[in-house]
């Protein structure tokens, strides 16, 4: 154990090494490592956020799908209802139309019957008149008894 100037030399060397490390080794390395740690943390946070976004999106998609299905069901129900309504309306319309046609036909028939009766009556009257004429020709003057004949005619 002997102390000499080596100690001073070593101390100077040591000081230079420390200074150099402090200046050129430590700051760039630790800065880089801190930055990397930050970047990794950011990346993890972003990934977490992405996962949450994805979950939210999936939930929204499911919601919208369910809504769409519900809407579709509602539409189908409404359409069915409307269709049956249309059918009912058509049936009603057909029924009234039919009834109307029948009524018209009846009325026409009645009229025809009436007209036939009228013509029948006229024919019967004229037959009766012609018959009576033939009978009366001998006794009655057509011109003399015109009023009478007209009143008989009207009575038929």
């Amino acid at each position: 154990m002997e102390f000499n100037a080596t100690l001073l030399g070593q101390a100077i060397t040591f000081a230079i090494l420390v200074w150099f490390t402090m200046k050129f080794v430590w700051p760039p390395l630790t800065n880089m490592m801190d930055e990397r740690a930050k970047r990794i943390a950011d990346g993890l946070a972003a990934a977490e956020r992405g996962k949450q976004d994805l979950e939210a999106a999936e939930k929204r998609v499911a919601d919208e799908l369910r809504q769409a299905k519900q809407q579709a069901t509602e539409l189908i129900l409404a359409a069915e209802k409307r269709a049956s309504q249309i059918v009912d309306e058509a049936k009603d319309a057909a029924r009234t139309e039919g009834a109307k046609l029948v009524a018209d036909a009846k009325a026409q028939i009645d009229q025809e019957v009436l007209r036939a009766k009228e013509s029948l009556r006229e024919q019967v009257a004229s037959l009766a008149v012609s018959g009576a004429e033939k009978i009366l020709r001998k006794e009655i003057d057509a011109a003399k008894h015109a009023d009478l004949l007209a009143s008989i005619k009207a009575e038929f």
Partner: protein, 270 residues
């Protein structure tokens, strides 16, 4: 053999000195050159990695360096709570430099001295019997005390910057024993001062001697193993070398940790 062995050991334990007369201004050129080369290797590797450090896809060397830096950084952050730009680089330098110096212990004990003798004889015509080369700088008290005394200066510097010059001087006389009243303070002042001086001196001495003792004894045992017959050297040499891997790392780590602890104590208020 006995005188031969003694001579061999003596030869291995002699420094390569800048002058044969001795005296304070003698330099241990072996300690100096080896530690300087190792220091430059440390700086070159770490600075080049720091310069080319990539945030993405770091290479193996960069990851290795990052592991060391992170280890030091974690220790510093756990122990030292004040803000300081110096302490972490200081701790890193201490750890790596001491580790590299200690690693020289794992080289074959005769390798570098024989190279030195051959170079000295071939190029400078030096007498091989008087060419000395001790390859483990941390087995030189000058190297270990150079670091521990620098650490002590840092302790004083940190104390003064944290508490002010007046605060530091005041603390030298008022801690660890706190007194109530003027009379007791005056009585306790010299006691406190003595305690503080012992504490201040004990730190660098224990730091330096712990490292020196471990490395010196390790070196000595390697030298003794080298005296065994060649065929049997590995029986002791291999286990000791393997064990020594632990020792050199541990000693570097302990020196670094204690430095951080001392400096954190220095900035704390009593």
């Amino acid at each position: 053999m006995a005188s031969n062995a003694t001579e061999y050991i003596q030869h291995h334990l002699t420094f390569w000195k800048s002058s044969h007369e001795g005296g304070f201004w003698t330099l241990h050129l072996d300690t100096f050159s080896v530690s300087l080369v190792l220091g430059f290797i440390f700086l070159a590797v770490f600075a080049s990695v720091a310069r080319n450090a990539r945030m993405e896809n770091p290479g193996r060397l960069q990851m290795f360096i990052e592991t060391i830096v992170e280890m030091v950084d974690t220790q510093v952050k756990e122990i030292f709570h004040a803000k300081s730009k110096v302490i972490a680089p200081l701790a890193l330098t201490i750890f790596v430099w001491i580790f590299l110096m200690n690693t020289m212990d794992l080289l074959p004990v005769d390798l570098i001295p024989m190279v030195a003798q051959w170079v000295g004889y071939t190029f400078f015509g030096a007498d091989p019997h008087h060419t000395y080369f001790r390859v483990v700088p941390s087995a030189d008290v000058n190297a270990t005390f150079a670091m521990s005394l620098s650490v002590m200066l840092c302790i004083i510097g940190f104390s003064i910057s944290a508490k002010g010059l007046g605060g530091w001087i005041k603390e030298l006389f008022t801690a660890p024993f706190h007194a109530e009243g003027l009379v007791m303070s005056i009585i306790l002042a010299p006691v406190n001062f003595a305690f503080q001086l012992v504490e201040l001196a004990a730190k660098p001495i224990s730091l330096a001697l712990r490292l020196f003792g471990n490395m010196y004894s390790g070196e000595l045992i390697f030298i003794l193993i080298a005296l065994l017959p060649v065929a049997f050297q590995w029986i002791l040499g291999a286990p000791w070398a393997i064990f020594h891997i632990l020792v050199i790392t541990l000693q570097a780590f302990v020196f670094m940790m204690l430095t951080i602890v001392y400096l954190s104590l220095a900035v704390e208020k009593h």
